[in-house]
Amino acid sequence: MSRSPAKMYPGSHRISARPSKLAERAYSRHFRFVALILFWAAPAHAEALVADLTDHLIAITTGFTGASVVLFGAIDGPGDVAVVVQGPDREMTVRRKSRIAGIWVNSQEVIFANVPSFYFVAASRPLEEIVSPATAAFYRLGVTNLEMKPGGMTPPQVVDEFVSALVRTQRHARLFSDSVSRVNFIGERLFRTTIEFPSNVPTGTYLVQVFLVRDKDVVGGQTTPLVVSKVGIDADVFGFAGRQPALYGAIAVLTAMVAGWLASLPFRSA
């Protein structure tokens, strides 16, 4: 079953197979990861794991209230499955308020480069049971394994405070998954899990990584992109405002002027 040629989304690729395709598609920031998988997985079966998403595009329209995408797949032997979904990395500034003269003022800030704007993790069993801490750290399995290092010289205990504040805030916004979600097995080989995206989901290209885990180590995997994009009028407005800010501003002003002129016209009573 797992050997059957699965339908693949054009942008997806199997990590444990077809190195030439991999090399050309490798995202630079995941190169290290890809290279390692190749190295480790070489003796394993070529197609140890296949997986796909029910949707490769999350379209944010005017009435968008969030979306859920089902990830499903199969493995060709015993093992566990772990899934990590990461939104595009962003530079995030965390600020802390303190009370100055009776009012609450932002008084301290720490800037983190390269924090995923969205983070979801799921596994078929608790993470600590299926992978070693080193492996978990390497593949960013679990929120605690996100490498968040601020620039400059911030004392470590302050960094820890700000990191946990960042994680807490992102969890509250439902952008970081609260805990490790379940990957459910149907029988021995088929698995599935549901990824929930809230209405405030950041746009961009997401990476969905599926890992096959045996004996506390990752032995195979697959990476699939998932695009979160604004579509329709909202997307046009947003894109235009970003690409042509001067023209956008001018049109906004003109529209308001015309609307104001229309409003000043005397009403004709019906």
Binding site: V105, N106, T203, A241, G249, V253, A256, M257, A259, G260
Partner: protein, 305 residues
């Protein structure tokens, strides 16, 4: 029915927005105030990020003041020369204001500044209006209070660059309206207000303009200052939500129509007292939010694009 605001990146009930625009438009119709000073805090209350609220209400203000000026222009109540001189100051002030806004945004202090300025301005304005409307009610029962002098001479009349403003029947230094325009322009950029509530009293009491030409002239320069703020905010901070501004305008137009019909029927003094209470309530809410311990002292800022 929720509408997704593309720049603010939040979903808001479209009827709440229309109602908000309508309520503020109603106040415009009844009292003749711009209402920008209420739109921004109310937008912040319903969850629009303060930076977007400020920039978008400047955008909305362009439309609202165009329609206001046209009405006053038809009655011949606009002093164009004075408007342009105010505008010169206003444009410089709004450029400076947007620069300050960008700087404060980078420092993470913009939201605090917006709230603080509103507390001070609305608190002062509300208190003044309340005192004035109470006096007005008392005066009703004591007729025959002597007329004020047209204007008093003081240090301001010694300034250079004197110019004649025929429509306003004034011969004063152009530095005065330029300075006034500048101050209002700064507030306009930082708070997303037209500044009518600062401008109008200053024009009457400081410049000594005849009351009839004040609203039209004030609105004339607000159009251009608000347009300038909108352009600069769109260009430097990308915080102008045109969809939000347009929905507010639609609500505002409807509200202003209804308001102007009501305004002629209702007692002005009592309504002004109500408006004063409303303004004070908004100021009190903002002040309270500043002093109450936040549920989480930490916050995150990041570029959304």
């Amino acid at each position: 029915m929720d509408i997704y605001l593309p720049i603010a990146e939040v979903s808001v009930d479209v009827f709440v927005l229309l109602g908000l625009g309508g309520a503020v438009g109603f106040l415009t119709g009844v009292f003749g105030v711009g209402g920008g000073f209420l739109i921004t805090p109310l937008l912040i209350f319903i969850g629009v990020p303060p930076t977007v609220a400020v920039a978008s209400s400047a955008n909305q203000l362009v439309g609202a003041s165009v329609s206001g000026v046209l009405v006053h222009w038809r009655r011949g109540n606009v002093d164009f020369k004075m408007g342009y001189v105010l505008l010169a100051g206003g444009l410089a002030g709004s450029v400076f204001g947007v620069w300050v806004f960008t700087l404060l945004k980078r420092l993470g202090q913009i939201e605090l500044t917006i709230s603080l300025c509103y507390v001070v301005l609305l608190g002062t304005l509300g208190a003044l209006m309340m005192v004035e409307s109470i006096y007005a009610q008392l005066r009703l029962h004591r007729p025959g209070v002597g007329r004020r002098k047209l204007h008093q001479h003081n240090w301001m009349h010694g300034l250079p660059l004197k110019a004649r403003f025929r429509r306003s029947k004034l011969y004063i230094s152009a530095l005065l309206p330029i300075g006034l325009g500048f101050v209002v322009g700064v507030f306009s950029a930082i708070l997303g207000i037209g500044g009518g509530f600062i401008m109008v009293p200053a024009m009457i009491y400081m410049l000594g303009m005849p009351t009839a030409v004040v609203p039209g002239t004030s609105l004339l320069q607000i159009i251009f200052v608000a347009a300038n703020v909108t352009l600069l905010q769109a260009y430097t901070n990308r915080t102008v939500d045109a969809v939000l501004a347009l929905v507010l305008l639609v609500g505002g137009v409807i509200g202003a129509r209804i308001g102007s019909r009501f305004g002629t029927r209702l007692r002005g003094d009592q309504l002004r007292l109500l408006l004063a209470l409303l303004v004070l309530a908004v100021a009190a809410k903002l002040a309270f939010d500043l002093t109450v311990r936040p549920s989480d002292p930490y916050s995150i800022a990041w570029e959304k694009t």
